[in-house]
């Protein structure tokens, strides 16, 4: 193309000269503008990308399905037996339904939704280890496509895929998907809630507001502390209204949908009120709400910064030995690097909303933890875990620009998370691992009809009953005048709880004073066993 120097008639703010023909100038200016726009604006939504590059609906779901399958495989590889809380839930779910509800309402501190699922599962599949964990495995696996949906809805398909990949192998997601408790349900409901909320914020369609209320009610029916997450979602709704305040019709549309959502939430949660009322006057609630001794994971550390960081590390990398966690915390310069990489990356409402969905429940749980330190632990924050994964996925897709690099970084992350997963699942020093199954299996193989198990603390009863249903059991706080001719098996756990060592020591000393001798002792993850004859 020939360059022609031509004086131009300038507009008000034009620069006044050009070196090239106007046509070329305009087209290049347009290209430049498009490039600049694509750099400064968020990535196009999945929908626009799908439109731009035709992709059949079924093909678009292949990767998410594969990731879901991977998530199912990871969740199916169970490497541990039931622990105390699971055994308690199983014992409760073995009761009649009204009996279970009555038991829960009088002696438990949790709402009944996950127990109801467990109750159904036991009726359908029995009470084997896998059967009782089946609801968690399935719902925990469903979290993977839900992560994809949410990531795609909030950002784009690529973020959705990265989030699903993270969700498939994230150690903590796998851990709780293998536990016959409510945490996997909670994670699924929270990510679906996030999806519904952003869908509503984007489309304004009331059906999504109603769906949001449904998921929020589900959270409330699953775990009371999940209410912190619901509160955070209301804050996000408020912020969205404030952000769009200048667009009155839009605000009205949002506000009316929000009101409808809250109304439905109230209706759905209302039946829970008498149940909560009964629980609040039960003995366990008071104990639960005022325990101020144990730290995170029963480590007795209190709620210092270390506890907060530890919970954060657990949320991403899963449960590991204290030594490993200390080493990971020492890698804090990685956090500095991440913060620096985010410099100038912009602060979209979507990301800020997700950050709020992590920080607000965290802060509220911290306040709750000041009253009851035992509650400041990751499992009570499991609703925010999927949101955290979304943010991790967003960090990758935002910082790493090219597709190839994104998948390389994601691959590296997945490899890292897989290692962390293996360590979590197999390392006996994992503080959340309680090897009751192995401990009881070892000592009950040769158990005779006259053998007795003495245990401490008291709440081990259900797990011992689960694995050794036929052996008589004696609480270490009860009558220790045991005159059986058989063996006495002493089983202790939760040694980080004040006085536990002393209690077990007293039992052993008493038994030895009565002429028994220790013939076998063994140490398992967080469980110790002594056999006296």
């Amino acid at each position: 193309m020939t360059t022609v120097l031509e004086p131009v008639t300038t507009g008000e703010d034009d620069i006044g000269v050009t070196l090239l023909p106007k046509v070329a100038n305009r087209s290049r200016a347009r290209n430049r503008e498009q490039r600049a726009r694509s750099r400064t604006r968020p990535r196009p939504s999945s929908r626009s990308r799908v439109r731009a590059r035709p992709r059949s609906r079924s093909r678009a779901w292949i990767l998410p399905l594969l990731l879901t399958l991977g998530g199912l495989v990871a969740r199916s590889a169970i490497t541990r037996g039931l622990w105390v809380d699971e055994a308690i839930s199983v014992a409760q779910a073995k009761m009649s339904f009204p009996g279970m509800i009555h038991h829960l309402s009088t002696l438990d501190v949790h709402p009944p939704l996950s127990h109801a699922l467990l109750w159904v599962s036991i009726r359908l599949f029995g009470s084997g280890e896998t059967a009782v964990r089946l609801p968690s495995i399935l719902l925990g696996t469903l979290m993977v496509p839900a992560m994809y949906l949410a990531g795609r809805e909030i950002y784009d398909r690529r973020t959705g895929l990265v989030a699903a990949a993270v969700g498939a192998v994230a150690p903590v997601a796998v851990w709780y998907s293998q536990e016959a408790r409510m945490y996997a349900v909670l994670m699924l409901l929270s990510i679906l809630g996030v999806w519904a909320q952003f869908r509503f914020l984007r489309s304004g369609a009331k059906r999504y507001a109603l769906l949001l209320a449904l998921f929020q009610a589900g959270i409330a029916w699953t775990m009371y502390l999940g209410a912190f997450f619901v509160i955070a979602q209301q804050v996000v709704m408020l912020l969205a209204c404030v952000q769009r305040r200048k667009d009155r019709p839009e605000v009205w549309r949002l506000f009316s949908g929000w009101v409808v959502s809250i109304a439905l939430l109230v209706v759905l949660v209302a039946p829970l009120v008498p149940y909560v009322w009964t629980q609040a006057h039960g003995p366990n609630y008071t104990q639960f709400a005022n325990t101020n001794t144990a730290g995170t994971g029963g480590e007795g550390l209190g709620i210092g910064l270390y506890t907060i960081i530890t919970n954060g590390v657990w949320a991403i990398l899963g449960y590991h030995s204290t030594r490993a966690i200390t080493s990971i915390v020492a890698m804090w310069p990685v956090g500095v690097l991440a913060a620096l990489l985010l410099l100038g990356r912009g602060r979209s409402f979507r990301t800020m909303a997700l950050v709020a969905l992590v920080l607000i429940p965290g802060a509220l749980l911290y306040l709750q933890g000041l009253r009851s330190a035992e509650t400041f632990t990751l499992r009570y924050l499991s609703a925010v875990v999927p949101v955290l994964f979304l943010l991790v996925a967003r960090l990758i897709t935002r910082v790493v620009w090219s597709d190839v690099a994104t998948w390389l970084v994601t691959g590296a992350l997945i490899v890292g998370l897989s290692f962390a997963l293996v360590d979590q699942q197999l390392n006996g020093e994992n503080p959340r691992r309680y090897d009751f199954r192995e401990a009881l299996h070892a000592v009950t193989l040769e158990a005779g009809p006259d053998d007795v198990i003495v245990y401490a603390p008291t709440y081990l009863r259900d797990v011992i009953t689960y694995y050794a249903p036929d052996i008589p059991k004696v609480d270490a706080t009860g009558d220790l005048e045991i005159d059986t001719p058989g063996r006495v098996i002493v089983l202790g756990s939760f040694f980080e709880v004040d006085g536990m060592y002393e209690q077990i020591g007293t039992v052993l000393a008493h038994l030895r004073q009565n002429g028994r001798t220790i013939i076998y002792k063994a140490r398992y993850s967080n469980v110790r066993v002594w056999v006296l004859r």
């Binding site: 006044g16 070329a24 200016a29």
Partner: protein, 547 residues
Amino acid sequence: MTVDSRLERSRWVARVTPARRRQLRWLIPLNVLLAGWYFGWLLQPQRIGNPYVYALLVVAELFNLVQALGYWWTMHPRAIRLPVEVPRRDIKVDVFIPTYNEPLDIVEPTIRAAMSLRSADVEVWVLDDGHRPEMEWSARRLGARYISRPTNEGAKAGNINYAVERTTAPFIAVFDCDHVPYPRFLEMTLGHFNTPTVAYVQTPQYYSNAESNGLAGAAWSQQALFFGPICQGKDSSDAIFCCGTNFVMRRTALEDVGGFPTKSITEDFLLSIELAERGWSGVYEPEVLANGLAPEDLSSYVNQQRRWATGCIASIPRVLRSRTRLSHKVSTLLSATYFLSGWAILVNMLWPVVWVLTDALPLAAVSADRFLLHFAPYFAASLVTLGVASDGRYTWNAYSLACSSFAVQISSTFAALRRKERAFVVTPKHGDTGLHLRAAAPPLIAAVILAATAVAGIAKGRSPANINNVTFALLHVTVMVAGARYGLRVRSRQRATPASVLRLNDAMERADQILERSDAATSTGTVVPAVFLDRRSAIPEERSRAS
């Protein structure tokens, strides 16, 4: 063929918006509180580990704190300066475009744009220290006047002073030859001279090639912070300084101080101090009114940084001796001492090396959580404030490029201490497409040393202190490599070719057209400017050189 990005209007809004001012209003006090929280903890005697290493840490951290406090103080929202209307349209303005060896395709758009400046009686002067006939030809063809002095004494400052003596307009606008002014440049600036003590009006330097080149983008991110909130802050405390281009100067003020100082390579900086000493003030108009070019290769960037660093560090004693208001002195000192930051970066990079070699730690028996409890809020708040103040313009690329220039600042300190006079090196306007290993060497060497330290640290054991030092070393490796990568990229020649090829081809083509016209004019008896006729013999030679 590429479009000259300088001909497009900037989308950058330099002015700090009211929303950002509101955010800064509460963020800055929060930063000060958190800095107090961190340093109150750090400076307790029980923190002292190895006393020598601790002393180094404290010095580096205090230097950073002083810079941070100065930065927050500078950016603290004060009154907003509003544009002032031009009193009348017949004010005479001499527009100076100093040039040395820049190609025609860089200078011509600037001359053309300068000729189109509105709202004043403008005379454009091309001040050519390159003594190039083709530049003279080009200037005269475009209607500008041409000055070429017999010697190049005093570099750019001397060039401008020489022109000042030969011109008469009461106001002088100066543009580096790659800075293309907008037509309303004078409209937006001349009004500020209604105040009789105003000596100069400075406007932002905007790099229009920021989007087309990674290094230029990173350099622009740094500039955006400076010409955004920092310059506006300096202006509101009446401590803005002249930045060498895109400014208008009152001739009487310039003559009052005897012109630009020629002994320094940051003549604009020293001039501002001298003007302030004599009661003159500067004004900052936070509106992009000219588009320039950022350095496009690492060597050019390093040259530019070295010039600024050496000049500013060398002027520290002058700043300390200056007889200006305290706020002006402090503000100027902060700007000059910024270029000592390389030392703080070096000290920070030393920790892992010292640990691996000597087992010495600056802090005694401090667990990661205790350290983070005090450091993390300070660090996080600083980053958030930086993000808000720069409106998200300051990026990781800018940060890593700044950090990886630590060696430039260190060598400039020595040069300034030795009072070694550096030649004024013109920043090349076209990026070189090759490797820039020499420019990238210091950060790469630092990265290699730190990587080796990390390996040695890994071999040393798995204690938390060891892991922490290894990670810290790897953090700096990442930063250094990220900064040095601009010197390791061999850019496609295709991208750089058009401008360089066009430069000669276009010049030849244009010359042919003009010569044809002049031939025709001669034959018809029209008077042809002498310059065109003089060039007739030169052009074929140039053509043969081009071929």
